[in-house]
């Protein structure tokens, strides 16, 4: 927790300071030798073997508008990659291609080095990709257990729903996430924002996901619950699960993510290790598309006019 606290300092004094000074500050405070060199941070990812997920040159358009344009991102086991960008930058869309909600127009998706065809959410789930959507994607009129097991219901020997077993399992999972949760019989529409969020999270982690996509997982949560989700992410990471974390909150991303990818207008501005960039620089990437030295520029990076 100490590291992000240090890094918030430049953000408060944002704007006026020249970039070079900020980088100097990062170098000062950093013990990582590669980060000090600054020039080849991207080498690290490539040295780690086959990525868990690699999306290569993925594009998708809606009625002529390119929501995602030749975006490439990757994710390793036990790694948290933060996806940042404005509203409409294309991050949710890109991630929905991976979760099977949208079908890509072009590009490849590789899981552990093998190209896969993800055409619908079922395909994604069978590959171990679980998603917590920003909208939570809960069926409001049914209870927590029905939502947790939606599409994967437990059945009795004669093929009927085993509601009792599902509720028992749900009680176990929910106890891990939210020990105070008691309202198992009520439709989720009656639950608070935080409780609904924990149902959505429980659904994603219950089925042994290898790849977890979290789209604004803490948007509806209070500080205590947000901290709980943070702990959960660290725990999942330790289990070797790869996580894509979409967030508007730079603090969250700097706190939880190993790397970050910034998108703008459907294109990747750049990819960086959180240790190699400051929050100010990342803001510059998000707002202006300026790719700092510590990051690997993508197709969406602002071209320097020499």
């Amino acid at each position: 927790m100490a590291k992000p606290a240090k890094k918030t300092a430049p953000v408060r004094k944002a704007g006026a300071k020249p970039a070079a000074k900020k980088i100097a500050k990062v170098i000062e405070t950093h013990e990582n030798p590669i980060a000090v060199k600054g020039a080849e941070p991207h080498m690290r990812a490539e040295n780690r073997g086959t990525p868990l997920v690699e999306m290569r040159d993925v594009s998708i358009a809606f009625g002529g508008i390119k929501a995602v344009d030749r975006a490439s991102i990757d994710l390793h086991p036990g790694e948290v990659v933060g996806l940042l960008g404005h509203n409409g930058a294309g991050k949710s869309t890109l991630i929905k291609v991976l979760s099977g909600a949208y079908k890509r127009d072009a590009g490849q998706i590789m899981i552990e080095g093998n190209e896969v065809g993800i055409n619908n959410p079922r395909d994604a789930k069978s590959l171990g990709i679980e998603t917590i959507y920003q909208t939570l994607a809960l069926a409001d009129n049914v209870d927590a257990a029905a939502n947790l097991y939606l599409g994967r219901e437990l059945r009795t020997r004669i093929g009927t729903l085993d509601d009792v077993a599902m509720e028992a399992e749900t009680r176990k999972v929910m106890f891990r996430l939210n020990p105070n949760f008691r309202r198992f019989k009520e439709p989720v529409s009656k639950l608070s924002g935080g409780q609904r969020q924990s149902v959505a999270i429980a659904r994603a982690i219950h089925f042994n996901a290898r790849i977890l996509i979290m789209d604004e997982p803490t948007a509806a949560l209070g500080p205590q619950e947000t901290a709980q989700v943070g702990e959960l992410i660290k725990q999942l990471k330790a289990d070797g699960i790869g996580i894509f974390l979409i967030s508007h909150d730079l603090h969250d991303v700097f706190d939880l993510a190993d790397r970050l990818v910034v998108m703008k207008n459907g294109k990747v501005v750049g990819t960086a290790h959180v240790k190699d960039v400051t929050q100010d620089e990342v803001l510059g990437m998000i707002i202006a598309g300026k790719c700092p030295k510590g990051a690997v520029p993508g197709p969406g990076a602002l071209r320097e006019v020499a």
């Binding site: 909600a101 789930k125 009129n141």
Partner: protein
């Protein structure tokens, strides 16, 4: 009520009022109780009103509504709409709608009639047992097929269900007219006619009615015991014993009560006479009695009498069909993945899709199910009339949708129960036949049904807002 006021062990629940605690402990849906209360109120009003206007015909409150005869007829008349309303619940829960069920019923009934009267009977010979079997299968299959077409156009061609089925309403009724050449197709096969409940062999009699009632009571008790065992297995909170006993007693009481009413309706006088003569049953001697429902011999004349040869109807086949359909549909809606998906899609179609449910195929399946149920209703309706015409299902779609909505199904989707819709159908039929019992003009019937429909939805919304 003394056991209800016992304070619960749970201190958190002690502050609740007795009524609230009662509903919590028994897990009875207050909405259903309200609906049943409204139904009983309507029945009482009609009985009193008919007593005042037309004199006492043996009704419970001095009229002619709460008599075994009227209630028996009421159930038979309700069965066709009730069967269809169970399918409409699932459609409306899934945010779809089928306006074409009435026309579809006419078309399927006419097709079934043409098949047995003009196609099968000349080939196989009138009364051949294969005729009714083929006709029944054909009606249900044709219904399912038309329903699947409605569903496919809605799901895959992405035409709103309202438009698809509005088109269907016109098109299917046109087809029915064309197929029947505007004429009445009759008579139906003798065995097929049993499904209508209009002839003595479609009445199962008191013995089998009691057998069914006892089986139903046993099933209620087994269900409660089994549910308790399941909850114990996983250490879930249990209903208090008094609540379990109360539910078992209430359920059994209702089943036995309805059965008793069904078993108190005697065959019409003429039918007893015909049956006795045809089957060589001896008619006992007696004295003529104008109010009698049994038959006696006064000299060499068959007369009505109070103590003589009498048969009781018991449950009628279409009512049993409707009850079985209701149970199967309830099972489907609450105990299977299919039902779970229907409700999930209604609650949030996008979430259901993201959870990996093939929502389009589900829409086709539910429309096809609706069609198959229309097929069953078309058999009941045409067998009851012993004929099929292109006007057989006229305005049925409106009654089916009204029954479903009166029964608590929300047009916004996601909420609705099978039993609610069936009670809704019974309520609507009660109003219609109650008003004809009062000799009110037909014009008033639709006015009142319309008002009741709007009132029911308004009350339901008031209730939901208060609960929130």
């Amino acid at each position: 009520m003394s056991n209800i006021t016992n304070t619960s062990q749970n201190p958190a629940l002690q502050n609740e009022g007795a009524v609230k605690r009662f509903f919590r402990a028994t897990e009875i849906d207050p909405r259903m109780l309200g609906m049943i209360a409204a139904l009983i109120l309507i029945w009482c009003i009609f009985d009193i009103a008919s007593g005042v206007l037309r004199g006492n015909f043996g009704g419970l409150l001095g009229g002619s509504f709460l008599t075994p005869r009227n209630l028996w007829t009421l159930l038979v008349q309700t069965s066709s709409i009730a069967v269809m309303s169970t399918g409409m619940v699932l459609l409306i829960v899934m945010r779809q709608l089928d306006l074409s069920v009435g026309s579809m019923l006419s078309l399927v009934a006419v097709a079934g009639a043409v098949l047995q009267v003009f196609k099968l009977a000349p080939v196989l010979g009138v009364g051949h047992p294969a005729i009714w079997i083929l006709a029944v299968v054909a009606c249900i299959a044709l219904g399912a097929l038309i329903g699947a077409l409605n569903g496919a156009l809605t799901a895959y061609a992405k035409i709103p269900a309202f438009i698809v089925t509005l088109g269907g309403l016109l098109a299917y009724s046109g087809m029915a007219f064309y197929l029947a050449k505007g004429e009445t197709v009759a008579p139906m096969d003798k065995t097929y006619e049993i499904f209508g409940g209009g002839i003595p062999i479609s009445w199962i009699g008191p013995f089998w009615s009691w057998v069914i009632a006892l089986v139903a009571c046993a099933a209620i008790i087994f269900g409660i015991v089994n549910g308790r065992r399941q909850r114990l297995r996983f250490n879930f909170p249990l209903r208090p014993i008094w609540a379990e006993t109360f539910l078992a007693a209430l359920g059994s009481f209702v089943v036995l009560g309805i059965t008793n009413v069904m078993n108190s309706y005697p065959w019409p006088f003429k039918l007893i006479e015909n049956y006795a003569k045809a089957n060589g049953v001896a008619i006992p001697p007696g004295i003529e009695n104008k109010d009698g429902t049994a038959v006696c011999m006064a000299g060499d004349q068959v007369v009505r009498c109070t103590e003589g040869l009498i048969y009781y109807t018991g449950y009628s086949l279409p009512v049993l069909v409707a009850l079985i359909v209701g149970m199967l549909m309830t099972f489907l809606a609450t105990r299977t993945m299919f039902g779970r998906y229907v409700y999930a899609i209604g609650g949030n179609p996008e979430a259901a899709e993201l959870a990996g449910i093939n929502t389009k195929w589900m829409i086709v399946k539910v429309f096809a199910l609706m069609g198959a149920l229309v097929g069953i209703s078309s058999i009941i309706s045409s067998a009851r009339l012993n004929a099929a015409t292109n006007a057989l299902g006229l305005t049925n779609e409106l009654y089916v949708i009204a029954a479903t909505v009166i029964g608590g199904t929300s047009l916004a989707g996601g909420v609705g129960t099978i039993y609610g819709a069936m009670i809704g159908a019974l309520m609507m039929q009660s109003i219609i036949s109650g008003m004809s019992l009062l000799n009110l003009p037909a014009a008033f019937q639709n006015m009142v049904v319309g008002v009741v429909l709007v009132l029911a939805v308004w009350l339901d919304q008031l209730y939901s807002r208060r609960v929130k």
